[in-house]
C-alpha cells in the first residue's frame, strides 16, 4: 500500500472512531471551529467585496434587530409563552449571516433573535480569519499564478495596466501595490471591525435588557384592552339591570290607590 493511501485509510479510521456526531459537534462549536474562510460566505466573495459586504450585513442584522424591538406593539406576540426568548424568531438578515457560517449553517432550527451577539461575533471571527488566511496564502498564490489570478481573485483591475495584459508580462510593481493594498485593507479592518461590533453590541445588550419587560408590558397592555372590552360589554349588560327591579310589580299592574281597603 502506498504511504498516501495508508494515511488516508488511517484518517478514515480515526474519523469513524470519533464518530460523525463528534465531528459535527466540533464544527458546530463556535469556539472550536477552524480559523478559515473555508465553508463560509467569504469563500464565495471576492476579497475586494469582503469589507463592504461584511459591514452591510452586520448593519442590516443590527438594524433589523432594533426594528424588531422598536416595533413590539406592531408584532404578533405569543403572550402566553413561558419564555420571552421564544417570542421572536431570527430576522432575515441574521438568518442570512448564520446560513453563511460553518458553525451555524447546520443548526438553523435553533437560531433565534436572541442569538444575534453570538452569530455576529462568529461572523466577525470568520471575517478576521479569512483576512489573515488570505494575506498568508492567496498573495503567494497570486505571485505564482501571475497577474490574471490577481485580477480575478481580487476584482481589482487597476493593479495591472492594460499594456501589461496585452504584453502578457508579469508586473512586479502591480503585485507589490496589490500586496500593499491588501495589507492596508486588512490592517484597517482589524482596527475597526471588532471595536465597532463590540460597541454596537454593548448598545444592543443594554437595549435588549429591557426587551422582556417591554414585551411583558405590551402583553399587559393588550390584555388590558381586552379586559376593557369585556368590561364595556358587561357594563352594557348592567344597564339592563333596572329592568328587573320591578319585574313582578309591573306585571301585577295594580292601581295602588284602588287596592287600599
Amino acid at each position: 500500500m502506498h504511504s498516501g493511501q495508508l494515511l488516508s485509510a488511517l484518517a478514515v479510521l480515526l474519523l469513524t472512531a470519533c464518530g460523525a456526531e463528534d465531528a459535527q459537534e466540533i464544527s458546530n462549536n463556535p469556539s472550536l471551529a477552524p480559523c478559515s474562510a473555508s465553508g463560509s460566505v467569504f469563500e464565495d466573495w471576492k476579497f475586494n467585496d469582503w469589507k463592504d459586504n461584511y459591514h452591510e450585513k452586520v448593519g442590516a442584522a443590527l438594524d433589523a434587530h432594533l426594528e424588531i424591538l422598536r416595533n413590539v406593539p406592531k408584532q404578533p406576540l405569543q403572550c402566553a409563552n413561558e419564555s420571552a426568548e421564544d417570542v421572536i424568531p431570527a430576522s432575515g438578515p441574521l438568518q442570512e449571516i448564520a446560513q453563511g457560517l460553518p458553525a451555524w449553517k447546520y443548526r438553523m432550527g435553533d437560531l433565534g433573535e436572541g442569538d444575534l451577539p453570538v452569530v455576529l461575533m462568529e461572523f466577525l471571527r470568520v471575517y478576521e480569519c479569512s483576512m489573515f488566511e488570505y494575506a498568508e496564502d492567496h498573495v503567494g498564490e497570486e505571485i505564482v499564478q501571475g497577474e490574471g489570478s490577481v485580477a480575478e481573485s481580487t476584482g481589482e483591475t487597476n493593479t495591472t495596466t492594460a499594456q501589461d495584459e496585452e504584453d502578457g508580462l508579469f508586473s512586479w510593481f502591480s503585485l507589490i501595490s496589490r500586496d500593499a493594498f491588501i495589507e492596508k485593507r486588512i490592517n484597517e479592518e482589524t482596527q475597526v471591525a471588532r471595536p465597532a461590533l463590540e460597541r454596537a453590541l454593548s448598545f444592543t445588550q443594554g437595549y435588549d435588557r429591557l426587551h422582556p419587560l417591554t414585551t411583558d408590558i405590551e402583553c399587559l397592555k393588550r390584555t388590558s384592552l381586552d379586559l376593557r372590552n369585556v368590561f364595556g360589554l358587561i357594563s352594557d349588560a348592567s344597564s339592563c339591570l333596572p329592568r328587573i327591579w320591578d319585574a313582578q310589580g309591573a306585571l301585577y299592574d295594580v292601581d295602588f290607590e284602588e287596592s287600599q281597603p
Binding site: 480559523c35 460597541r199 417591554t214 358587561i234 319585574a247
Partner: protein, 935 residues
C-alpha cells in the same frame, strides 16, 4: 494665536450633515473609523484644529490629513513633496507632533462616544420623552390610563398629586415655518456646535431663561460670556443672538403650543406631554434630532414644568471639548486642559455644575438621583464619606447628606436611644451620638434603627393650614400653632378639616368613582337630577321669616333653592346648612309635585280641614324629623351636648334634640298638630338645645358665607352636597350615561348598577333590601309569588402575592450579559468569557508581532467590555425591580380575570330569569287580611 479668516470659510467648510445617516451600526462604524484615522472619516474639526495649532508648519487641512493617515513616517516623508517640510527631519518631527496631539484628542472623543453609547443603550428605553424609539414610562401611563377610574389624566404619584396626560398633536402645519427655520439654523452649525446646541436645550429653553424659576432655577445661574475661549463653550453657550436663532424659534413654537385648545381643559395639577407625529422628525428636523414640549396646568406659578426643547432620538455623541472657537471675524484653536474652569457651583466651589436639569422634569424628579441620600448610620454605603473631606474631582451620582445637613434641610432629627429604645426628637445631634444614639430624619427611620417611635397625636392647625394633621407630640403641635385633639371628630368640631384622604370616601364607603364625569354636557335631566342653589341673605323672608328654608324642587329646571341667614342667633349656621341639605336630598328625588304640603282651601268643612292638616302634619313630621335627626346626630358626634345639664329632668341628646325641634316645627304655631314626643318638652327646650351649638368650643364656620365656601366648608356638608348633585341615579331606568371607556369607569358603572339593584329591586316579594316595611307593598304577595332566582355569588378573592426575589437568577443574568458581549454561552465565573486565548492563537497572523499584539489586545478588549458593563451594573437592580413588578401584575391580573368571570356568571343568571307571561290573579280584596291583622 488668532487668524483672521473669512466667515464663510470658517463656517461652511466645516458644515457637515453626518448625523446618524444610517442605522446604529453606521453610526458606530463611523465613530470607530474616525477614531482610527481612516482617511475618509477623519474629524473635520480636528483637521482644522491641527492646521491652526501647528501653524508654523503652514500645512493645509488636506496636508494635515495626509500626515494623519501616514503610518510610516520615513516612507511618507521620503515621498512627501511639501515645500515647507522638504527636510526629512522636519517632516518627521511634524508627523510626530501632529500624530501625538491628534491621538490625544481622538482618545478623549472616542472615550466620550463609548460612554455615550453605553449609557444610551441602557437608558434609552426608560426615557420619558415622547418621540424616542421606545418609552416605557409612556407605555405604563397608557396601561394605567386604560385601568383607572375617572375622566382626567393619569395621576403620577399620590403624594405629589400630579397628573400627566399625553397629547398627540397631529396638526403640524402650524409649526411648519418655524421648524424649517430651526432645521436651517441647526444645519448651518458645525458638527460640534450642533451637538452642543441640542444638548444645551435638552431640558428646555424656558428653564435656561429662568421662566420656571418659581420652582426650578436655571442650571447655570450666571451669564456666560460668548467671547470666552474655552473648551467648555458649548456647555454654556446660548443661541439667542437674534430672532432667527434657536431660542427665539423655540419660544415661537412654545407660544403656538401654549395656545393649543383641548377638549378637556387642562387642570391645575396636570401636565400635558406633546407627542408629535413620526413625519415631523423625519422631514422637518435634522436627522436624529427630536423636538419635545410639555404644558403645565399650573398657570399661577408660570407653568413650572412647562417647557419646550430639543433632544436626540438616539443620543450617540456627547458634547466634546471644543477644538475650535469661531467668532464673526476670526477663528482660534482651543488648547483646552482647564477643566473644571468656570463656572462652578456658587454654593460649593469645588463642584462643577452638571446635570441639574434632570431634576426639573416631572417624572425624573421622582428618581433617586434627585433625592439626597441621607446618611443614617456609620458604615452605610454612600459615595460621600461624611468623615472625610470629599475630593472635588470625584463624580458622585448620589448626593449624600450628613445628619446635620439633614436637620438643617428638614428641621427634624430623631434620636434612637439604645438604652430606653425610645425615639425622640432631638436638637442636639452630637449629644445623641455621644450617648450611643443613632440619628435619623423621620420616625420611620428611627424605628428602623430598632427603637420605638411614640404614637402621633392629632393636631388641629386652625390658625394656619386649617387642616387636621399628625404631630409627633403635643409640644410639636403647640409649637406649630395648633392644638391637640383626641380624635378626628374632635378635630372637625374645632373647625379643622381632614386633608384630602388617600382613599376617597362618601358618607358610606370608598368611592373611587367620584371623579367620573357620568353625564354628557347639556344632558342635565331636571326630572331626575338636581342642583342646589344656596343664597346667603340678611334674612329669609319667605314663609314668615325663617332662619333658613329650602324650596321644593323646581321640576322644570331641577334647581332647589335654599336660603340661609348670614348669621343665626341661636344655631350654628353650619348645622343649619346640614339640616337644609337633608331637605334638598329629600326633594331631589321628587319626580312630580306630590312631595309637598297640601293646600287648605277656604270654605271646606272642619272634617276636611282636619284631614288635610293631619296629612300635612304627618308629612311635616316625616320630612322635618329626618332633617333634624341628621342635624342633631351631627351635633352629638361633634360633642356639642357633652356635659350639658338636664332641663326639667330631660337629658339633652340627639334624640331629645330632634324630637323637640321637629315637634316645634310641626306645632300648632304652624297650623299643624305636632309630632310624637318621648317627653313633655318645655316650650323653650329646643332653643336651649340649639344654643349649645353657639358655644365657643364649637369651632365651625358660623356665617353663611363661610359655611358655603367650598374651600372652608365642613367636609360632611360638602360630601352631602356632592352626593345630592353628583352621585345620584347613575343606573336609573332610561338613564343614558356617557363616560370615558376605561376599565375603572366601566367597573364603577357595573358596581353602581349592582348596588342600586341590590338596594332597590323587588325581585323577591316583600323583600326589598333597603325597605323594612314590607307591608308598604301589599301587592307583592309572599305566599303566591316566588323569588325570581337571582342570587349573589361569592366573589373570588385575589391571589396576588409578592413575587420571589431570586438572586441566583440575577447573577446568571449578569453572567449571560458579560458572556454574550464576547459571543460565548454563559460561563461561571464570567471572567472565563474573555480569556479565550485560543481565539488569538487560532488566527493566522501576518507576523509573530501581530499575534502578540493580538493577545495583549484581546485581554484589553475583554477588560474594556467588562468594565463598561460593570460600571452600569447597578442599573440591573432597576431592571430586576421592574421585572418583579411585572410578575406581580401578571398574577394579580389573572385573579382579576377570575373576578370578572364571577361577574359574568352573575349576569348570566340574570339572563336566565324566567319572567311570568301572564298577570297574576289579583286576590279578592275582601278576603285579603289587612296589614294590622284585623278583619
Amino acid at each position: 494665536m488668532k487668524k483672521l479668516l473669512p466667515l464663510f470659510f470658517g463656517i461652511l467648510s466645516l458644515t457637515t450633515t453626518a448625523y446618524a445617516e444610517g442605522g446604529l451600526y453606521d453610526i458606530v462604524l463611523k465613530q470607530v473609523r474616525t477614531g482610527a484615522f481612516i482617511e475618509e472619516e477623519i474629524d473635520e474639526n480636528l483637521l482644522e484644529y491641527l492646521s491652526q495649532l501647528f501653524d508654523e508648519y503652514e500645512l493645509s487641512v488636506d496636508e494635515i490629513k495626509k500626515f494623519l493617515t501616514a503610518t510610516e513616517p520615513l516612507i511618507f516623508c521620503g515621498e512627501s513633496q511639501n515645500e515647507n517640510l522638504s527636510i526629512a527631519q522636519e517632516c518627521i518631527k511634524a508627523h510626530a507632533d501632529i500624530q501625538r496631539v491628534a491621538k490625544r484628542e481622538i482618545r478623549v472623543r472616542d472615550m466620550g462616544r463609548k460612554l455615550q453609547m453605553l449609557t444610551t443603550g441602557f437608558e434609552l428605553r426608560i426615557s420619558d420623552l415622547p418621540g424616542r424609539e421606545t418609552s416605557l414610562p409612556e407605555d405604563i401611563r397608557g396601561i394605567v390610563n386604560i385601568w383607572m377610574a375617572g375622566s382626567g389624566s393619569v395621576q403620577l404619584q399620590q403624594k405629589q398629586n400630579t397628573k400627566i396626560r399625553n397629547f398627540i398633536d397631529e396638526d403640524t402645519n402650524r409649526y411648519e415655518s418655524d421648524l424649517q427655520s430651526l432645521k436651517d439654523r441647526l444645519e448651518e452649525m458645525t458638527q460640534d456646535e450642533m451637538i452642543g446646541a441640542v444638548w444645551r436645550y435638552q431640558f428646555g429653553v424656558r428653564l435656561i431663561n429662568s421662566d420656571r424659576d418659581t420652582f426650578f432655577p436655571p442650571p447655570y445661574d450666571y451669564e456666560w460670556d460668548s467671547s470666552t475661549v474655552s473648551e467648555q463653550q458649548y456647555l454654556y453657550k446660548r443661541w439667542n443672538k437674534d430672532s432667527d436663532d434657536v431660542e427665539a424659534i423655540l419660544y415661537r413654537l412654545w407660544e403656538i403650543i401654549n395656545n393649543t385648545s383641548f377638549t378637556t381643559p387642562v387642570q391645575q395639577n396636570e401636565i400635558v406631554y406633546f407627542a408629535f407625529p413620526e413625519d415631523l422628525y423625519g422631514d422637518m428636523l435634522p436627522e436624529n434630532v427630536l423636538l419635545w414640549a410639555r404644558l403645565d396646568g399650573n398657570k399661577a406659578d408660570n407653568q413650572p414644568f412647562g417647557d419646550i426643547g430639543l433632544n436626540w432620538r438616539i443620543p450617540a455623541e456627547p458634547v466634546y471639548p471644543s477644538l475650535m472657537f469661531y467668532d464673526d471675524s476670526y477663528t482660534e484653536p482651543i488648547p483646552g486642559g482647564n477643566y473644571p474652569l468656570e463656572p462652578v457651583d456658587l454654593q460649593d466651589p469645588d463642584k462643577p455644575i452638571d446635570g441639574n436639569g434632570l431634576c426639573t422634569q416631572p417624572v425624573t424628579l421622582q428618581g433617586y438621583l434627585c433625592r439626597p441620600f441621607q446618611i443614617i448610620s456609620e458604615g452605610e454605603r454612600c459615595p460621600d464619606k461624611p468623615a472625610q473631606q470629599r475630593d472635588p474631582r470625584d463624580i458622585a451620582i448620589i448626593q449624600c447628606m450628613n445628619p446635620e445637613d439633614v436637620k438643617e434641610a428638614q428641621g427634624t432629627s430623631w434620636c434612637c436611644n439604645p438604652q430606653s429604645r425610645a425615639c425622640s426628637i432631638t436638637q442636639d445631634i452630637t449629644q445623641c451620638q455621644q450617648n450611643g444614639g443613632l440619628i435619623s430624619t423621620s420616625a420611620n427611620g428611627c424605628q428602623a434603627n430598632g427603637c420605638i417611635a411614640p404614637q402621633p397625636v392629632l393636631c388641629c392647625m386652625r390658625s394656619t393650614s386649617g387642616l387636621c394633621t399628625e404631630a409627633t407630640s403635643d409640644a410639636e403641635c403647640t409649637q406649630n400653632g395648633g392644638s391637640t385633639v383626641a380624635n378626628e371628630q374632635a378635630c372637625l368640631a374645632q373647625g379643622c378639616i381632614m386633608p384630602e384622604p388617600r382613599e376617597r370616601t362618601t358618607l358610606s364607603n370608598a368611592d373611587v368613582c367620584r371623579e367620573i364625569n357620568w353625564r354628557e354636557k347639556g344632558t342635565f335631566n331636571p326630572g331626575r337630577e338636581c342642583k342646589v342653589d344656596v343664597k346667603c341673605q340678611p334674612s329669609c323672608t319667605v314663609q314668615g321669616g325663617y332662619d333658613g328654608f329650602t324650596k321644593f324642587k323646581n321640576l322644570t329646571t331641577g334647581t332647589i333653592d335654599m336660603c340661609l341667614k348670614e348669621t343665626v342667633a341661636d344655631l350654628n349656621v353650619t348645622y343649619l346648612l346640614y339640616h337644609e341639605m337633608i331637605h334638598a336630598y329629600q326633594y331631589c328625588n321628587a319626580t312630580d309635585d306630590t312631595l309637598t304640603y297640601k293646600n287648605i282651601p277656604q270654605g271646606i268643612s272642619p272634617e276636611e280641614e282636619h284631614t288635610l292638616r293631619q296629612d300635612n302634619t304627618n308629612f311635616c313630621c316625616q320630612m322635618e324629623g329626618e332633617a333634624y335627626d341628621a342635624m342633631c346626630n351631627l351635633m352629638e358626634r361633634d360633642g356639642v351636648f357633652d356635659g350639658a345639664a338636664t332641663i326639667n329632668g330631660i337629658p339633652i341628646n340627639a334624640q331629645t334634640c330632634a324630637e323637640s325641634l321637629t315637634n316645634n316645627a310641626c306645632s300648632p304655631n304652624n297650623g299643624l298638630y305636632g309630632c310624637y314626643v318621648s317627653y313633655n318638652y318645655p316650650t323653650d327646650f329646643y332653643r336651649q338645645v340649639v344654643r349649645l351649638s353657639k358655644a365657643p368650643t364649637v369651632d365651625l364656620a358660623d356665617t353663611c358665607t363661610d359655611a358655603i365656601d367650598k374651600t372652608t366648608m365642613d367636609v360632611r356638608v360638602k360630601q352631602l352636597w356632592n352626593h345630592i348633585e353628583k352621585e345620584h341615579d347613575v343606573c336609573e331606568p332610561g338613564q343614558t350615561n356617557l363616560f370615558e371607556n376605561r376599565i375603572g369607569n366601566n367597573a364603577c358603572y357595573i358596581g353602581q348598577c349592582v348596588e342600586q339593584t341590590t338596594e332597590l329591586h323587588a325581585v323577591t316579594p316583600m323583600q326589598v333590601p333597603s325597605v323594612t316595611q314590607g307591608q308598604q307593598y301589599p301587592w307583592s304577595d309572599p305566599l303566591t309569588s316566588t323569588p325570581l332566582g337571582l342570587s349573589m355569588t361569592n366573589y373570588q378573592t385575589s391571589q396576588a402575592r409578592l413575587p420571589l426575589y431570586q438572586p441566583a437568577l440575577l447573577i446568571q443574568e449578569v453572567e449571560r450579559t458579560l458572556c454574550r458581549a464576547q459571543g460565548l454561552p454563559p460561563l461561571t465565573p464570567p471572567i472565563l468569557c474573555h480569556l479565550k486565548a485560543e481565539r488569538q492563537l487560532g488566527l493566522k497572523r501576518l507576523t509573530g508581532v501581530d499575534a502578540i499584539r493580538g493577545l495583549i489586545r484581546q485581554e484589553q478588549e475583554g477588560q474594556d467590555s467588562l468594565d463598561e458593563i460593570l460600571q452600569l451594573s447597578p442599573l440591573l437592580g432597576y431592571r430586576v425591580g421592574a421585572k418583579l413588578y411585572a410578575d406581580y401584575l401578571r398574577v394579580s391580573t389573572r385573579s382579576f380575570a377570575g373576578i370578572l368571570t364571577n361577574a359574568a356568571d352573575l349576569l348570566e343568571e340574570i339572563k336566565d330569569i324566567e319572567f311570568p307571561t301572564e298577570m297574576c290573579t289579583i286576590p279578592d280584596l275582601q278576603d285579603q287580611p289587612s296589614s294590622s291583622g284585623n278583619p
